[in-house]
């Protein structure tokens, strides 16, 4: 029976982070990219809480994670509003269609 330590949490968080980056790099759907960004934020949250619990002690990590959760919610709210507005203008949320300005 092994003990669960900080390393296990870090593996999970590194995996989630890598998935998030991969999703952001490959998805062309705006909401898909937003999901990738949320995965990265959640990876950071796992880090904050795990480090806070095993390395640092106290509530610093947990408080930081709480702030990040709120920021992620605010970001999702404004991003979805902007995507809706984009859809109204372009009838799609494929970010590759956003190419009228370039250079």
């Amino acid at each position: 029976m092994f003990e669960i330590g900080v390393e296990h949490y870090l593996f999970v968080s590194a995996f989630v982070f890598a998935m998030g980056i991969l999703v952001m790099a490959t998805k062309r759907n705006a909401i898909g990219i937003l999901l990738g960004a949320e995965l990265v934020l959640n990876a950071a949250n796992i880090n904050f809480v795990a480090f806070g619990r095993y390395r640092v002690g106290g509530l610093d990590g947990a408080i930081a994670a709480m702030f990040v959760i709120v920021l992620a919610a605010a970001e999702a709210a404004i991003a979805l509003a902007i995507f809706l507005n984009f859809y109204n203008n372009y009838a799609t949320i494929d970010v590759d269609q956003a190419d009228t300005t370039r250079g």
Binding site: G36, A44, N47, R55, G58, L59, F67, I82, Y90, T101
Partner: protein, 547 residues
Amino acid sequence: MHETLGLTMPLLAKIWLPAAGDLRLVLPDLLLIATIVAILLAPLLSRRSLRVPGLLALLGAVVGALACWFVIGDVAASGSDLFGVAARDGSSGPAMLVADRVSLFFRMFLMVFLIVIVAMWMMTDGEREQNPHEFLTLLLASALGMSLMTSANHLLMVIVAIELASLPSYGLAGFDKFRRTAAEASVKYVVFGAATSGLMIYGASLLFGMFGTLHVPTLAARLATGGPGGPLLAVGLLAFFAGVGFKISAVPFHFWCPDVFEGASLPVATWLSVASKAAGLLLLLRMVFAFAGHAGGEYSQYVLPTISYGVGVFAILTCTFANFAAYRQTNIRRMLAYSSIAHAGYMLMAGAIVVRSSGYENAMSAVVAYLLIYMFMNLGAFMTLGLVAADTGEESMKSFAGLGWRDALTAAAMTVCLISLVGLPPLGGFYVKWWILAALGGAAREANMPFLWVLALVLALNTAVSLYYYARVVWQMYFVPPEHEKPLRAPGAGKALVVACALLLILTGTIWVRPLKSMADRYTSNMYTVSAARTDAGDGLAAAVRP
């Protein structure tokens, strides 16, 4: 209910009870918040009048600027910690914010710029804007985020401040719901912003794990006394830099910048081109100088030069790439966007000066003077573009053809702004660039860092390169015949603003050189400095609530 309150209140008081002196030093921020609340409540009384919110915003900005002016004298020498969380043993915990003259000076700068932007907006889009309250709320909220960015001293505060500046900016970029380019600009902005802020927060979580704190001076102190290093540290710092680099549009985090400037309305583009970059730069310089506040064997030998090279390479990439990209542009708005990226690169060079000496006060002074002059030259250029675009209906290079014959005064003022953007004497833009060069050279000599000479050389070469694309506009205005000879139809206030900017640039390049320099020196002397008492700040919030 009563019992819980009885338990909670002393605990809250123990964790956080702001001192009156601290509140005084954040008075400008509190005034901004009050203005936002007033603008949101105004429709209850004024039935969505179009004028009231604009006037309220102007009033708030004027009072805020005056408040900065009165408070700036009260700042303690070498700055002060604000809102330190008191630990159980009575010692003060890590401070979230700091106050020093630079931070208050920046707030004053921001308020003055806010006044101009609100006035510009009222003259152009404000007349027919259907939702002025919402627009101004977003604008002021982003101003609040920017002013917090310049005094943040804790990575959590940095993250919150950057997001508070960014999220309203995404909304501002796409505020005009019926224009396709605005919708596109805001989508690009929000997607890049979400990606880089994710990276930044992940980087902060790594730094938190490595050093056990998010308080920047403590973090720097632990790094200096042989904290963990190696690749993980580099990844953490680099990921964190992505978020800050996004705000100052450092290459390769700059992709949003030209598209957003092109898609957003003119006041918003002007606002983002100066204010958001200024805030990001001051934030970055504060971080870098916190690291430079320490010295010692391995740390001075490896860590500090790495930071210096890192920031320097980003600065070189930023200004060189932007200057060459500006060549190809036919749309003046995009050209000005790349020009603003290049200027951010020049100012970023000051961040490579990480030697513990008078070096970084010089660097900060040069950057503050640069920001002030940059505000006037950019404002003049963007405003002229706005006038020309309103008259001809397009923003291409061609729309400037023959402006010198159609409106001699505006064209002359625009020429002054452009020459100042290049950085030629006898205009303000020359001296501020010269001071950056002098700060780089002085630090290179003092600390024997040849890399800083390279930066100075790159800065000089880039100035020569940039001459070409600015001169192209001047050529259009004077040597290309206009399509028709009718004089430029433009509001008088707009022309007056452009001329005022040009006059200020001429004055700061001639008789006001010394006053400008001594003012920048005065506001950057006694910067917040890291001392032992400020770094051994306990374990953070935990110390206050741990049983």
